[in-house]
């Protein structure tokens, strides 16, 4: 299951990478740009990395500027409950929200691209930093702070990173193999960091705006998970309808952080929780029930998102019922188990013993079953006195063992019924050994009456067979009954 979830996460990332390609092309068509467009946009690796603008075009695109302007206006205007009677899709604010969702996804991708850019440039200076600080925005801030400094004790990273990571970073910096950057490269890197941070603030604005409008857009979803988380979910999914189309297991993973730093314990890391982790309901459940609560929340949130995407319940009542359901379920999980009732004993001998069957039991019974040797010893030929261990009728009788005509002096252990099926396969290899598998047997048998006797391989087959083995599938068997009509 871990690999399946991993592949989902990878898919989400892959999706955004593809969108980045598609959107960049769109931006080129829509916007009026002065820069030269590189010939092959689909292949990002071939882009000219020296120029930041050729890599990150989003900020200059018309679409971006338009939407950001509208968002700022709307944020200043404050929340106003626009006409609820209208169909959602016609409302211009809704369109803005949809655009904002798309934009926030674009901004994320853009940040990733810029992060790659910064990383590639800064690799000459401090290659280990990229594996220590994963988050793109943190990385950008750290790079900006450190700049070209070689001695990290002069750099104050307080507040940017957790202290444990600061420590690791300073230690690694003292042994780094990097060299200071040339001035122009450094300048480009700092520019890229600034741009990344600007995009980050822009994304925050967009999310704030969407959050303030969330109660109007998706009332049911906001009732369950809260408006902030709902906005984030919608932003990451790329719209309310996109969120509604996702299966609940994907919704659970939206916003999940990738694995923690190597060397730190993974025992405390929350397994596979995304933005759902920040909901109030999740925070108030005891830790033991958290994974179940997460799954429950994700499924109900998906239901609510589906209701909202079709505008089935504008007042949010469905959301309230779902939230009640969630509360009730979590409470039920926390109930103590019912007290144990003392049970009276059952009537003796009333319940028949449970007889088991199956291959295992058959093999176990085989160990105590009567062997062919014992069967032969139990039977006697008519009119022929049997040999006995002490001779003359005293001691244990040998029965058919070793009698003339039985063809066997040494009787081997005998194959189990199951092994018989296997033996049938290899029967071709057995001719001439009269069926016995022991290495010491020969085709000759020494009998007291006639001396050396050659065995007839078929003779022994009928000796014991008929009573205990079914002749239905026997190869030497005949018709069991032929009716005269």
């Amino acid at each position: 299951m871990a690999t399946l979830a991993d592949s989902f996460l990878a898919d989400l990332d892959e999706l955004s990478d593809n969108e980045a390609d598609v959107l960049e092309e769109e931006n080129n068509d829509v916007a009026n740009m002065e820069e030269d467009i590189d010939g092959d946009l689909a292949d990002i690796e071939t882009l000219n990395y020296d120029d930041l603008d050729s890599v990150s075009k989003l900020q200059k695109s018309q679409r971006y500027i338009d939407i950001m302007q509208k968002v700022e206006d709307a944020l200043e205007k404050g929340s106003d409950i626009s006409n609820q009677g209208l169909v959602l899709e016609d409302d211009p604010e809704y369109q803005l929200i949809v655009d904002c969702n798309g934009l926030s996804v674009d901004i994320e991708n853009e940040i990733v691209i810029i992060h790659n850019f910064i990383r590639d440039k800064y690799r000459l200076k401090f290659p280990e930093l990229e594996s220590l600080v994963h988050h793109p925005i943190d990385y950008a801030r750290v790079v900006k702070k450190i700049g070209n400094e070689m001695d990290l004790t002069l750099v104050d990273l307080e507040g940017l990173l957790p202290s444990a990571i600061i420590m690791v970073v300073s230690v690694t910096a003292s042994t780094t193999s990097g060299k200071p950057l040339p001035e122009d490269v450094l300048q480009k890197t700092i520019d890229a960091c600034d741009r990344a941070l600007a995009l980050d603030t822009a994304k925050k604005n967009v999310l704030d705006f969407v959050e303030s409008r969330m109660g109007y857009i998706a009332p049911n979803l906001s009732t369950i998970v809260g408006s902030a988380v709902a906005a984030k979910l919608m932003g990451t999914a790329g719209g309310l309808s996109a969120l509604a189309k996702m299966p609940a297991c994907n919704v659970q993973l939206l916003g999940a952080k990738k694995k923690t730093l190597a060397g730190f314990s993974t025992v405390t890391s929350q397994f596979r929780v995304g933005y759902i982790e920040q909901t109030e309901i999740f925070q108030t459940t005891p830790p033991a029930l958290r994974s179940r609560a997460c799954r429950l929340l994700a499924s109900k949130a998906t239901l609510a998102a589906r209701i909202d995407s079709t505008r089935g319940d504008p007042l949010g009542n469905a959301g309230k019922t779902l939230k009640e359901e969630i509360h009730k379920k979590i409470e039920k999980w926390q109930e103590p188990p019912p007290a144990k009732q003392p049970k009276p004993l059952p009537v003796p001998d009333s319940e028949p013993k449970k007889k088991r069957g199956g291959r295992r039991l058959r093999k176990m019974k085989e160990r105590y079953a009567i062997t062919d040797m014992r069967k032969l010893a139990n039977r006697m030929q008519f009119g022929v006195p049997e040999e006995s261990s002490l001779g003359d009728g005293l001691g244990e009788g040998y029965g058919m063992l070793g009698q003339a005509g039985s063809g066997k002096l040494r009787v081997s252990i005998g194959q189990s019924k199951l092994a018989a099926k296997v033996a049938k396969k290899f029967k071709e290899k057995n001719y001439g050994s009269s069926g016995a598998t022991s290495g010491l047997t020969s085709s000759l048998a020494f009998t007291p009456v006639q001396g050396i006797e050659l065995t007839n391989p078929q003779a022994h087959a009928h000796q014991l067979g008929s009573g205990t083995q079914s002749t239905y599938f026997s190869e030497t068997g005949t018709f069991s009954k032929i009716k005269r009509t």
């Binding site: 003392p342 009276p344 004993l345 059952p346 009537v347 003796p348 001998d349």
Partner: protein
Amino acid sequence: MENGCSLQMDEVLASVAEKVKNFAVIYVVDITEVLDFNTMYELYDPSTVMFFFRNKHIMIDLGTGNNNKINWALKDKQEFIDIVETVYRGARKDRGLVIAPKDYSTKYRY
């Protein structure tokens, strides 16, 4: 002394009653009040346990010499349940005498 013995047996019987209720019912009779059977069954010990199945008296071989009754205080609940179960099994098969799972010939030794 006698009180203690009968009280102990009483406690065992009370705690076992619920568990064996599917196949046995326990009646407590005060022999000072109901005197009719005192001579018939020789009831003069502080506590006596006898077993009946379909109006037939079932004997148990406890090793004590007296197969008709248990006339001391059994302390262990599970032992008593085992005896009741043995009696039930044997009685259902129409046996008049069953053999107790544990031997009580040495019960006077501690």
